[in-house]
């Protein structure tokens, strides 16, 4: 099969029938609210997990009980009551609205700007479908291509059953159960997520995306992703989608683990556009994510993220550069508007010799939002000739928002070379004037400038994603010009 693009998918989605895949075997039921050992057991049982998995969850739960919610991040929010949440609810298969007319018109307007087809709009806003789509067959087409290469790409619950040896070997090796409060919570109660394994020497022929795996939409608030690239393999993985998703779950605590074995390369791109709350700062998703990758010898992990959504974002995609000559990269654009708060950045832990890392972070704050970069570069005593370059630029729009940088640099090796620079500025009046003079209105001019400001990161995104992300930036900042 030739390269399968998003357009092909869209075409296919329009014509296929939708049977709600394997959700049918799960009754739409919800567990009682609260969290205790029984709930953890029940989740595990519901998913038909083997005993080692149940034990693993319980161990995490035990650790979680001892932990307290971290408060060091530069964000302020009302702490969720962890006993007031239902930890398991089967994916919502009932349509919420009967027709598009009932959907928030603002949301629809956004869809239109992003150029999303009517059918897709309905799907994304949870409207009953006129055209029923069969996502299972889509998934199957994919699986065939991938299967030929020996690539395993499935939901993590499926992987626990079908490939327990791989899951058992790698799950929790990069983000241990006890890593932090939210990671422990996720380990105890994760509902589902993706699992991906690329065998030795295989170059994955397509961009793997959760977006394609439509039957996995609504994996719930505790998502777990595990990507393993075996020796010499390559994979590019996309997470999220540019269309705004309205999710009823206020708390999201996902864990992503990447493992790049010798000579492997993983490129992980995220576009996050969850509901940021309304213009008054009411509502919105709390996004507390733990993402970490482990690089063995000569391996490379590259994180690219475009964060525009969520009321509160707490996210630090990190690289542990364990093997010699391994490379870690982090490219990020974080946009905050209205009352959004983002505390995001990366950790680069240099353990091996000749390891290299690059950090490019662009923060754009508008409205009354607060945008923080928090990063750690750590050079251990054995990491000879480690090299790091970090650049954090912030763009401020209006005088009610804030931009903050908290870079931590710890060097314990004399051969380390570390550079860090950060700047904060606003859009120059002369730049806007220049554009105005040439017939570009102020709003467009700002879009143009923001685009140029974020180009370095946008360029790192896969093509289709980049175009959408660019549009997304414009939309996110709409109306922020005063």
């Amino acid at each position: 099969m030739s390269k399968y693009t998003e357009d092909d998918l869209r075409e296919e989605l329009k014509t296929k029938e939708y049977e709600y895949g394997f959700y049918t075997d799960i009754e739409s039921d919800t567990f009682p609210i609260g969290l205790n050992e029984d709930i953890v057991r029940a989740i595990s049982l519901k998913k038909g997990e083997p005993e080692w998995m149940t034990d693993w969850r319980l161990e995490a739960f035990k650790a979680w009980k001892e932990m307290t919610e971290p408060e060091w991040a530069n964000v302020h929010y009302k702490k969720p009551d962890f006993q007031a949440i239902s930890y398991y609810s089967a994916p919502n298969s009932k349509p919420k609205y009967n027709s598009l007319d009932e959907v928030d018109p603002e949301l629809l307007a956004t869809f239109a700007k992003l150029g999303i087809s009517i059918d897709e709009q309905k799907k994304l806003s949870n409207v009953a479908m006129d055209v029923v789509i069969d996502s299972v067959s889509v998934a199957t087409t994919f699986k065939k291509t991938l299967g030929e290469k020996g690539i395993i790409f499935m939901s993590i619950s499926e992987a626990i059953k079908k490939h327990p040896e791989l899951v058992k070997k790698y799950l929790g090796t990069v983000v241990p159960q006890k890593d932090n409060f939210y990671a422990a919570l996720n380990s105890a109660v994760f509902s589902d997520g993706s699992f991906c394994y690329i065998p030795k020497g295989v170059r994955c022929p397509m961009e793997l995306s959760t977006y394609f795996r439509i039957n996995q939409a609504g994996t719930g608030q505790f998502e777990r992703t595990l990507v393993i690239a075996d020796e010499g393999s390559y994979v590019s993985y996309l997470e999220g989608c540019t269309a705004p998703s309205r999710d009823e779950n206020q708390l999201h605590a996902a864990v992503v683990e990447l493992i790049a074995l010798d000579d492997a390369e993983i490129k992980y791109s995220t576009v996050q556009n969850w509901y940021p709350g309304n213009a008054e700062g009411k509502g919105g998703v709390f996004n507390f994510v733990t993402k970490r990758g482990l690089c063995e010898k000569n391996a490379k992990i590259s994180w690219t993220q475009v964060e525009t959504g969520s009321a509160v974002t707490w996210k630090y995609p990190s690289c542990v550069l364990k093997g010699d000559n391994s490379v870690g990269e982090f490219y990020s654009i974080a946009v905050t508007n209205n009352y959004q708060q983002a505390d995001t950045g990366t950790k680069m832990i240099h353990l091996g010799k000749n390891t290299k890392s690059t950090i490019i972070s662009k923060g754009i704050s508008a409205g009354k939002s607060q945008n923080s970069y928090r990063g750690l570069v750590k050079i251990s005593p054995n990491a000879d000739n480690a090299r790091n370059f970090s650049q954090c630029d912030s763009l401020l729009m209006g005088n009610e928002c804030g931009a903050h940088t908290f870079p931590y640099i710890e060097a314990k090796n004399k051969t380390a070379k570390i550079e860090h620079e950060a700047t904060t500025s606003k859009i120059g009046e002369d730049q806007i004037f220049y554009c105005n003079q040439r017939g570009i209105d102020t709003e467009k001019a700002i879009a143009l400038i923001v685009n140029g400001f974020s180009k370095e990161v946008l360029n790192k995104l896969p093509m289709e994603f980049a175009v959408e992300a660019q549009k997304l930036l414009e939309i996110s900042l709409e109306g922020s010009v005063g």
């Binding site: 060091w72 530069n74 050079i379 005593p381 912030s394 401020l396 729009m397 209006g398 005088n399 009610e400 928002c401 804030g402 931009a403 903050h404 940088t405 908290f406 870079p407 931590y408 640099i409 710890e410 060097a411 314990k412 090796n413 004399k414 051969t415 380390a416 070379k417 570390i418 550079e419 860090h420 620079e421 950060a422 700047t423 904060t424 500025s425 606003k426």
Partner: protein
């Protein structure tokens, strides 16, 4: 009995001895309560993440030195910048030494905190300024509770103090371990200019812990230059808390030269409470052995059109550890702020560590703020160039390091002081640089 308990019970004794007005007494009582509640900072606190006090708190410090000691000027002459005329305020084990000092009341007050606390004519200044800039953290509070002695400097309007002021604290080490808590107050009124040099020096190898607080008030258009020389011996630890409040159009600078001591922690805080203020924070750190130097700076931009410049250079050898934690806060109203921060470090040895965290917190949009931070090594090719022209490796290295720290030295305004620092650096690097400035 650990040090905290000892201090708390000593406070009860101390409280009975001090004969002071109720205003100060209340401040003291509040301060000791804060200390009692918070205790000594631990590594769990974000500001103390990289510096542990555990090791130095283990000593059994005597809080009130019992016997008084006299020192001969000739024995300690080398610790003064003696080749220029200057005012001197000298303390020995926390007690004022009148024969080493040279104070004045002629048109300005360069004298003692103990006098300022007790004499009615200083009352107004004390009420207006004392403890008004110091933060309410546990160590500053501890100092406030025990504050009894230190330098008191009040320069009235339109006065140019033509001689620098040297504040020197000696500890003689006649007890196994001594804890000192000097408290300094510097008030510089409109259009006045003053230069101050501060130094802490222990004369024996007995342990000393100094927890010092200095409050500096630079009023309208005042110019204050403050220099700290930290070149103590290897059993002396220093926690230096300095708070500077600036009013409009004032210019203040603090230069910190850290070459010695076991553990040195500098908490340097600038508050800009007016427009068109200029603040400079610079430092050179050259350490080795098991030394630890921690620079914790804060520049708080509150009003518009102000500037701040930070430049810290560090060279770390052997097992030493360096910490730089610089924070710039720009408030919403502080438009047109220019804030610059640079921190450059060189690691010489495999066992040396540097932890740096240059922070920016910005709430205003029309600002220019930048920070840069580097960690690297001496340039091999530059070393080779010099060696190939007959300069021995050691000297070549020293030259490079000297050049590296030159930026900071260049803004020192007292030539004799610059010379002295150059000598200390050369000494530290074990070479003769072969030139004087």
């Amino acid at each position: 009995m650990d040090l905290k308990e000892k201090l708390l019970s000593s406070y009860l004794v101390f409280e009975d001895h001090v004969d002071m007005d109720t205003h100060i007494h209340n401040l003291r009582n509040d301060a000791i309560k804060i200390f009692e509640e918070k205790g000594f900072p631990t590594k769990k606190e974000e500001d103390w993440k990289y510096t542990s006090l555990n090791k130095i708190l283990k000593e059994d410090y005597s809080v009130f030195p019992k016997q008084e000691n006299a020192i001969e000027y000739n024995d300690v002459k080398k610790y003064f910048i003696h080749d220029i005329d200057s005012y001197k305020i000298v303390f020995i084990d926390g007690k004022y030494s009148s024969h080493l000092s040279q104070t004045t009341h002629d048109g300005m007050d360069i004298c003692l905190m103990s006098a300022a606390f007790t004499k009615p004519k200083y009352r107004l200044v004390i009420e207006n300024y004392f403890n008004k800039a110091a933060s309410k953290d546990s160590l500053s509070s501890l100092n406030t509770a025990f504050s009894s002695e230190g330098a008191y400097i009040h320069i009235p309007k339109n006065k140019l103090v033509e001689k620098p002021i040297q504040i020197i604290h000696f500890s003689t080490g006649n007890e196994a371990a001594t804890m000192l808590q000097p408290r300094n107050l510097v008030v510089v009124d409109e259009n006045s200019h003053v230069q101050i040099i501060e130094r802490h020096q222990s004369l024996t190898s007995n342990a000393v812990l100094t927890n010092s607080v200095t409050e500096i008030f630079a009023n309208k258009r005042a110019i204050v230059d403050y220099y700290k020389i930290q070149n103590d011996n290897s059993n002396a630890s220093l926690i230096d808390n300095t708070f500077i409040k600036q009013k409009q159009e004032s210019v203040a600078s603090v230069h910190t030269f850290s070459f010695g001591g076991k553990l040195t922690r500098n908490n340097l805080n600038f508050y800009q409470e007016g427009e068109r203020i200029d603040s400079t924070l610079k430092g050179v750190t050259i350490i080795g052995d098991n030394q630890h130097v921690d620079h914790n700076t804060l520049v708080h931009h509150i009003e518009p059109n102000c500037e701040s410049h930070q430049d810290y250079k560090g060279i770390f050898d052997e097992n030493s550890t360096g910490v730089f934690n610089g924070k710039v806060v720009v408030e919403k109203e502080a438009q047109k702020t220019n804030a610059f921060q640079a921190n450059n470090n060189i690691l010489i040895s495999d066992k040396a560590t540097i932890n740096t965290k240059p922070q920016l917190e910005i709430f205003a949009d029309d600002v220019k703020c930048s920070h840069g931070c580097t960690i690297g090594q001496l340039d091999e090719s530059a070393l080779f160039y010099m060696q190939s022209r007959g300069i021995p490796k050691k000297e070549a290295k020293a030259l490079l390091m000297y050049a590296f720290s030159n930026n900071v030295l260049n803004s020192v305004k007292i030539p004799e002081m610059k010379q002295r620092i150059t000598k200390i650096i050369a000494n530290k690097l074990g070479v003769n640089l072969g030139f004087d400035l």
